[in-house]
């Protein structure tokens, strides 16, 4: 018995030690997340159930779903949500279409300049969104680079309206999100053995069939990661729609900011924030399920 106890002793001790180490490792991050994310979210959710007196711009304690009902019953707000989802889906698709070939080339290249290629993709991320948007403003303006060039070449006789339109916002968000898509895809494509592509070709598959039957299914985890990341970033885009969209174009994140600061309507701002978060989460989960089904259905 003593022997057994001795034999088990160190094992038990080791497990306890493991537990402590694990606890020590996860506690700081858990506390950080709890304090910096969950606590504000909980407070915000509580605020979103409060009332608001417009005449005094004051929040009043209450427990009501009125803010959520107001959002879904007013076409002005639902149209902003639909615009946001539409733009996020469009941007994600364009990023996927533009990003896949680029990621494939970067992943497969044997060139000694490969690291430079990767750096050039990451480089735009070194500049903040608002700074980049300021650059786009110079490019898109009525007397900006694009219009000045087209007018100079005689291709148009009146400046194109790009600045403060949906077009400008879409171009701006694609430029911000494309590196995230490319990097997600490139890391997964690099892990796919070149031999499986060659096997498909040697069995007579044309490139399109090889892509559809071999590359695409194997790259699905990267496609999923890239699309989710791009979609979430586009749904929550603030600086780009604010600066390039102008006063007439609205997306969800600038709307939330406006409710909080301009109208000081914290309850409604809180409710919109939760609606945006929930819609983003639901669409992400739905996309995930669709991808999983596509993967296993094969």
């Amino acid at each position: 018995m003593t022997d057994t106890a001795l034999a088990h002793g160190p094992v038990v001790e080791k497990r306890r030690g493991d537990g402590l180490t694990a606890a020590a490792l996860i506690t700081p991050a858990t506390i950080f997340v709890a304090l910096c994310l969950l606590a504000p979210l909980a407070i915000l959710f509580r605020y979103s159930l409060n009332d608001f007196i417009p005449a005094k711009k004051m929040m009043v304690e209450a427990v009501t779903a009125a803010n959520y009902i107001k959002f879904f019953t007013d076409p002005y707000y639902t149209s902003i949500l639909l615009t946001t989802v539409r733009i996020a889906v469009l941007v994600t698709l364009v990023c996927l279409i533009l990003g896949f070939p680029l990621a494939y080339v970067v992943a497969r290249t044997q060139s000694r300049w490969k690291h430079l290629l990767i750096i050039s993709i990451v480089l735009p991320l070194f500049v903040g969104n608002s700074v980049r948007a300021a650059g786009w403003m110079v490019v898109f303006g009525n007397k900006g680079f694009v219009n000045a060039s087209l007018l100079g070449l005689g291709l148009i006789d009146k400046p194109l309206e790009i600045m403060f339109t949906e077009k400008a916002v879409i171009i701006g968000i694609i430029a911000v999100n494309l590196p995230f898509m490319v990097l997600s895809l490139q890391s997964v494509i690099e892990g796919i053995d070149r031999a499986v592509e060659e096997a498909a070709f040697s069995l007579g598959a044309p490139p399109v069939t090889m892509f559809r039957r071999v590359l695409w299914p194997l790259a699905l985890p990267g496609i999923l990661a890239g699309t989710i990341l791009t979609f979430i970033l586009a749904m929550n885009a603030y600086a780009t729609p604010f600066l390039l969209g102008g006063p007439l174009f609205k997306m969800m994140a600038p709307l939330i900011y406006n409710e909080f600061t301009q109208k000081t309507n914290w309850p409604f701002g809180g409710a919109i924030a939760f609606i945006l978060m929930t819609v983003t989460l639901l669409l992400t989960v739905a996309a995930n399920l669709l991808f999983q089904r596509a993967r296993h259905g094969r």
């Binding site: 417009p54 005449a55 005094k56 711009k57 004051m58 002005y76 009525n142 007397k143 403060f164 102008g246 006063p247 007439l248 609205k250 406006n258 909080f260 600061t261 301009q262 109208k263 000081t264 309507n265």
Partner: protein
């Protein structure tokens, strides 16, 4: 500079005008020489430093820290800090209607004017129980004389006949609705009649700009030919080489007052009073008139004649200066924003 030195000098110079605002305060307040000023960034902040802080406060040992942002986020911060015993700012620069609203929300101190010797010269209309008017101007019509003849007033400017040559500033929604209201037979307490007119202007192609600066840019590139804005801004833009002239509208010239309030939980109230007092000094007020084109709010500021001619209003125009109905605007602001965002812009 040690505290001991400060206190000794303070004791020695007790009663001298430069430190008058600080005398009679408890010792702990005198120890705190930092004043946190919430203000707009850009020119306004730069000119606060040039005309008030550097010449009038720094020699007294005051250290001014700026919290620069547009008014809405700073107001939101004041609301968020309302329950705190100590806030993070000592004074906040706001427009007169914002000052009215933050007072309604119970976040600002009622001022003791006896602590500010310079307040003796303050124009009565700029003396609010909860704040002080720092500068003022009037909402006028701006037009490019190269592209059109001078409009008579708001009705002639906010008119669908101007098509896409009319510029409207998004963040000026209150004053735009007010001007359209006056143009359509409304009053300072009834903006409703102007709504139809604004929608007609937008349908006719009026351009909407996100900021004052974007509007100025459009005037410069001649994308637009007219709009409405503070006279002071027109003077500033004229100085920047933009071809723009002003007309004091026949319907009335709504006043724009920009001032300062002190949050109830200001950590350094002595500092706040010192700042407010320095702000009313004639030299500071004259500096703002010359540099920024706003009118002084104290009677003893001497503005050069040529400057006065450009920034001020004639006696005839002064008769048309009208103050805003702050109560009406505060009560309906949320509704105005809803209409502006949903019906006008939407």
């Amino acid at each position: 500079m040690s505290k001991g030195f400060m206190i000794n000098r303070r004791t020695a110079l007790g009663g001298v005008a430069a430190v008058a605002a600080g005398t009679g305060f408890p010792a702990y307040a005198q120890d705190n020489k930092r004043i946190v000023v919430g203000t707009w960034g850009g020119d306004y902040s730069r000119l606060l430093a040039k005309n008030i802080e550097t010449p009038l406060l720094a020699p007294g040992g005051w250290d001014v820290i700026k919290d620069e942002a547009n008014a809405p986020p700073r107001r939101a911060k004041m609301m968020a800090e309302k329950a705190l015993r100590r806030g993070t700012s000592d004074i906040q620069g706001l427009s007169a209607n914002d000052m009215f609203e933050v007072n309604e929300q119970g976040t600002v101190e009622q001022l003791d004017y006896s602590k500010m010797p310079n307040a003796a010269n303050l124009i009565a209309a700029m003396k609010y129980p909860y704040g002080i008017g720092h500068i003022y101007s009037g909402k006028v019509v701006l037009f490019n004389p190269k592209l059109m003849s001078a409009p008579a007033g708001f009705a002639d400017t906010l008119d669908p006949k101007r098509g896409e040559k009319l510029g409207i500033i998004d963040i000026q929604y209150q004053y735009t609705m007010l001007a359209a209201g006056l143009a359509a037979g409304g009053s300072m307490s009834n903006f409703e009649p102007g709504k139809e007119r604004l929608i007609a202007c937008k349908k006719a192609g009026a351009r909407i700009y996100p900021s004052n600066e974007a509007f100025a840019q459009a005037l410069k590139t001649e994308e637009i030919a007219c709009g409405i804005m503070w006279k002071a801004r027109a003077v500033q833009w004229q100085n920047a080489g933009i071809n723009v002239e002003t007309v004091a509208p026949k319907e009335g010239v709504p006043m724009y007052v920009s001032g300062f309030v002190m949050p109830k939980n200001a950590p350094n109230k002595a500092g706040a009073y010192a700042y407010l007092d320095a702000m009313m000094a004639p030299s500071a007020q004259e500096g703002f008139a010359v540099d920024m084109g706003y009118n002084p709010t104290v009677a003893n500021a001497k503005v050069p004649d040529d400057v006065q001619k450009r920034i001020g209003f004639t006696d005839e125009e002064k008769k048309r200066l009208v103050d805003l109905d702050y109560g009406y605007m505060a009560k309906n602001d949320t509704a105005f924003q809803d209409w502006w965002n949903k019906s006008f812009k939407g």
